[in-house]
């Protein structure tokens, strides 16, 4: 029996060793892949960001706010914490993770849009987080959505199962990261998109069915305001920003529901000194297709214009 146990243990040790080595180098490759979403996560988790200005939000934030513009104009370190396809819960989860390992920012721009009120039933872009599954913050986040993540990281390499491409990309990233897909490239957390406008009819059709009441926006706005008030003192200025919407989305059939949300935000923030609501929903930027790659997201050009505009706004109206 002893000999058999030795045999089994030898197999287990050898396999554990090989798997651990592969996993280690793949994770390491991602962590050092410069200007990518992976390096952004790595910096967040290792407390290397420590930005003075933080942009929080969904894909509208991720594609639409260029931190370099803020950095140049405001002379403060800026970082885009946007989380593509994330609703309220995940946006705040990401902010909480950030705050656990990084210093509190002086300014927070919370992008607000209709996607903000979505329920997060699945974790979007899961693969961005896979290399960091050994970090307790990431593990806790993923396991909220899929219980399997509680034990997947206990067996080395299991997290890359059926993600063979990702494993190989990670290994290759130890030598160069140009091979990584463009979708992963970021600049201080911001992902510029160089695409021309194409109408997303499906999203517009879906949007028609959305009723503000169904989104339970009052509860979520109350919760958001409470969170920011509890978490930050007067040293941090908070801006809720509704970025310019594409003119297709400004048509009455879509706009009527948004007006309810605007009214509620104005009403709730009327007497708040530390939180300001900046509504740029209808803006000249909205009326030029060249600024968007679909009706919901800015392309690089639009993001640049909007970021400049918002900076100016902040300088003129609030910061000074």
């Amino acid at each position: 029996m002893f000999k058999f146990i030795k045999y089994v243990l030898l197999i287990l040790v050898l396999i554990y060793f090989f798997l651990t080595v592969f996993q280690f180098f793949s994770d390491k490759g991602y962590k050092k892949s410069s200007n990518t979403v992976f390096q952004d996560w790595s910096n967040i988790l290792e407390g290397n960001v420590n930005a003075d200005l933080l942009i929080v939000g969904s894909s509208r934030a991720y594609f639409g706010y260029d931190p370099i513009v803020f950095e140049d104009k405001l002379h403060c370190k800026s970082f885009n914490l946007g989380y593509s396809a994330a609703g309220y819960d995940l946006q705040i989860e990401k902010l909480k993770m950030y705050l656990k390992r990084n210093k509190k920012p002086k300014y927070i721009i919370q992008n607000v849009d209709l996607a903000f009120f979505n329920e997060d039933k699945l974790i979007p872009n899961e693969n961005e987080l896979i290399p960091f599954l050994n970090d307790s913050l990431v593990k806790n986040l993923l396991s909220k959505y899929n219980k399997n993540y509680n034990f997947i990281n206990r067996i080395p390499l299991l997290k890359y199962n059926k993600r063979f491409n990702q494993l190989m990309d990670g290994l290759q990233s130890n030598f160069d990261n140009n091979h990584l897909s463009k979708q992963y490239f970021t600049s201080s957390g911001y992902h510029p998109v160089d695409l021309n406008f194409k109408i997303d009819q499906n999203n517009l059709t879906r949007l028609k069915k959305i009723k503000a009441k169904d989104l339970k926006f009052e509860d979520k706005i109350d919760e958001l305001i409470k969170y920011y008030k509890d978490q930050f003192n007067s040293d941090t200025s908070i801006y809720f920003v509704w970025a310019p919407e594409h003119h297709e989305r400004l048509k009455k059939e879509y706009q009527i529901e948004k007006e309810l949300i605007f009214d509620y935000l104005y009403q709730k923030l009327e007497n708040e000194k530390s939180i300001v609501f900046i509504n740029l929903c209808v803006d000249p930027i909205s009326f030029n297709d060249d600024n968007f790659f679909d009706t919901f997201h800015f392309n690089r050009k639009g993001a640049n214009k909007f970021s400049h505009k918002l900076v100016e706004y902040l300088i003129n109206e609030s910061i000074n």
Partner: protein, 475 residues
């Protein structure tokens, strides 16, 4: 509980430790442990159906004891009839009730008579075809006075429910497996190592070969009209490897696990895709089922004795029943019929025992192997298709030779890589098995390097995320 699940990863070592360390040298306690573990293993899927196993076990245990007590022919026949009725009745109800009702209604519909048939929402209990046949072998062998009934209910219940082979075989004979529960088991290093190797090899076949092939096979068989002839041809070959990897993988794991507990199960597959004719294929494929039918159906029918016409009748019966055993669908019956037709020339020419395993391979055999494999693949289309019309569409589209494009397999990077991995996995499987066939082995053998390589392949290439049931669970 699935062998390729994380629950089983905890279950197996726990039972192993209790068996060899806590209950060491206590035969009765070890058998009770195996029984409890087996009920837990089965109940994990659906505990309600445990009652069926317990009922079947109790009936056959009692019938066995009663058969021993009497020599009166009519009473013995009555007892055997009771066992057959109870076991086949349960199998028939759960597996075939809806099929018979629907076929009855359809048959009348063809002559313009509309009938109302009542079908029921019946869940097919996992493994019912397997354990039914296993318990039947017990009562039939006692009836034939080839086996002494056991006095121990625990031993018998443990034999019926022995978890490694409970849900998908091999279908053990009472005369082979039951006596192993009576004897004190001694831990043997060589047996246990062989067990581990079989588990790894079986797991490789299941999660690397079968489950990766399934990724392509499922969409192709769902809508064959949407695919080119080339894609259908590859899909057919992939299914051949999927079903083989899936089922023989399960058998290897079952045999391997049994070895860890000191049991030897019968070999269920002997590298069937290296068969040189259909007769040899059936001597190498699902051996525990084909020999069961041989011993309990074919030979009682008269077997190969009598005129050619009589033999032909027996062969057709055996293949049709075998097809029907696999599932309550005309596709399975047609699959059995097709195999009977392929067997026919061999029987008529007295060539059905030409290619015995002991015979060496020559160059001509490569051609024979290729031909047999192709015929088996074509027959698999009926086995896999959800309906006869889909099977016919598949073969029609395949034979149209309209296009040899493999666009489905190479349309994007992820597919291409998975396709290449699947081909690589099939290649590894085939080369290893060819090696073993040439060595005239009956069971796989892996040295430590291969063991390590396969484990890495399981981790790198295995399909765990979309954990799939073993195909034979549905039978």
């Amino acid at each position: 509980m699935l062998f390729n699940s994380l629950e089983f990863l905890l279950f197996l070592p726990t039972v192993f430790v209790l068996y060899w360390f806590v209950f060491k040298n206590q035969l009765r306690a070890q058998n009770i442990l195996l029984l409890v573990a087996s009920y837990l293993f089965y109940g994990w899927w659906d505990w309600r159906f445990l009652s069926l196993i317990v009922l079947s076990t109790a009936i056959d245990y009692w019938v066995g004891l009663q058969l021993e007590k009497t020599n009166e022919s009519s009473k013995r026949k009555l007892l055997l009839g009771l066992s057959l009725t109870a076991n086949l009745g349960m199998l028939g109800f759960f597996k075939y009730f809806n099929f018979f009702v629907q076929s009855w209604v359809d048959a009348w519909a063809t002559v313009g008579v509309t009938m109302q048939g009542t079908t029921l929402e019946i869940i097919l209990p996992v493994g019912i075809s397997f354990y039914t046949f296993q318990t039947l072998s017990y009562t039939i062998d006692i009836y034939r006075k080839q086996l002494q009934p056991t006095k121990s209910f625990i031993d018998f219940a443990a034999f019926v429910t022995f978890f490694p082979q409970l849900v998908a075989g091999p279908i053990e004979r009472a005369s082979h497996l039951l006596p192993q529960f009576y004897k004190k088991r001694v831990f043997q290093y060589e047996q246990a190592v062989a067990g581990v190797q079989l588990i790894i090899w079986g797991m490789f076949k299941k999660v690397v070969v079968a489950d990766n092939c399934a990724f392509f096979v499922n969409p192709i068989f769902e809508n064959p009209a949407a695919f080119s002839s080339g894609e259908l041809a590859v899909g057919m070959v992939f299914f051949a490897f999927q079903i083989y990897g899936d089922f023989s993988g399960y058998s290897d794991i079952a045999i391997g696990i049994s070895k860890l507990f000191g049991f030897d199960l019968m070999v269920n597959f002997k590298f069937p895709y290296f068969s040189r004719d259909i007769a040899e294929f059936w001597r190498r494929w699902h051996i525990s089922l084909s020999t069961w039918f041989r011993d309990y159906v074919y030979i009682p029918l008269g077997g190969s004795r009598g005129s050619k016409g009589f033999q032909l009748r027996n062969v057709f019966i055996i293949f049709l029943v075998s097809g029907f055993w696999h599932g309550a669908n005309w596709t399975f019956i047609l699959w059995g019929l097709l195999h009977a037709l392929l067997f026919l020339p061999l029987l008529l020419g007295n060539w059905n025992r030409t290619n015995l395993a002991s015979k060496s391979y020559g160059w001509l055999d490569v051609f024979k192997i290729g031909t047999t494999f192709t015929l088996v693949c074509v027959a698999w289309v009926f086995f896999r298709a959800d309906s006869l019309s889909l099977a016919l569409t598949y073969l029609e589209q395949l034979s149209s030779l309209d296009s040899f494009s493999l666009r489905f397999f190479i349309k994007n990077n992820a597919y291409t890589l998975l396709f290449l991995l699947s081909v690589l996995a099939i290649g590894i499987l085939s080369v290893r098995e060819l090696f073993w066939v040439l060595q005239k082995r009956e069971t796989p053998y892996l040295n430590r390097y291969w063991t390590l390589f396969l484990l890495l392949a399981i981790f790198f290439m295995g399909s765990f995320k979309n954990q799939m049931d073993f195909i034979y669970f549905q039978f």
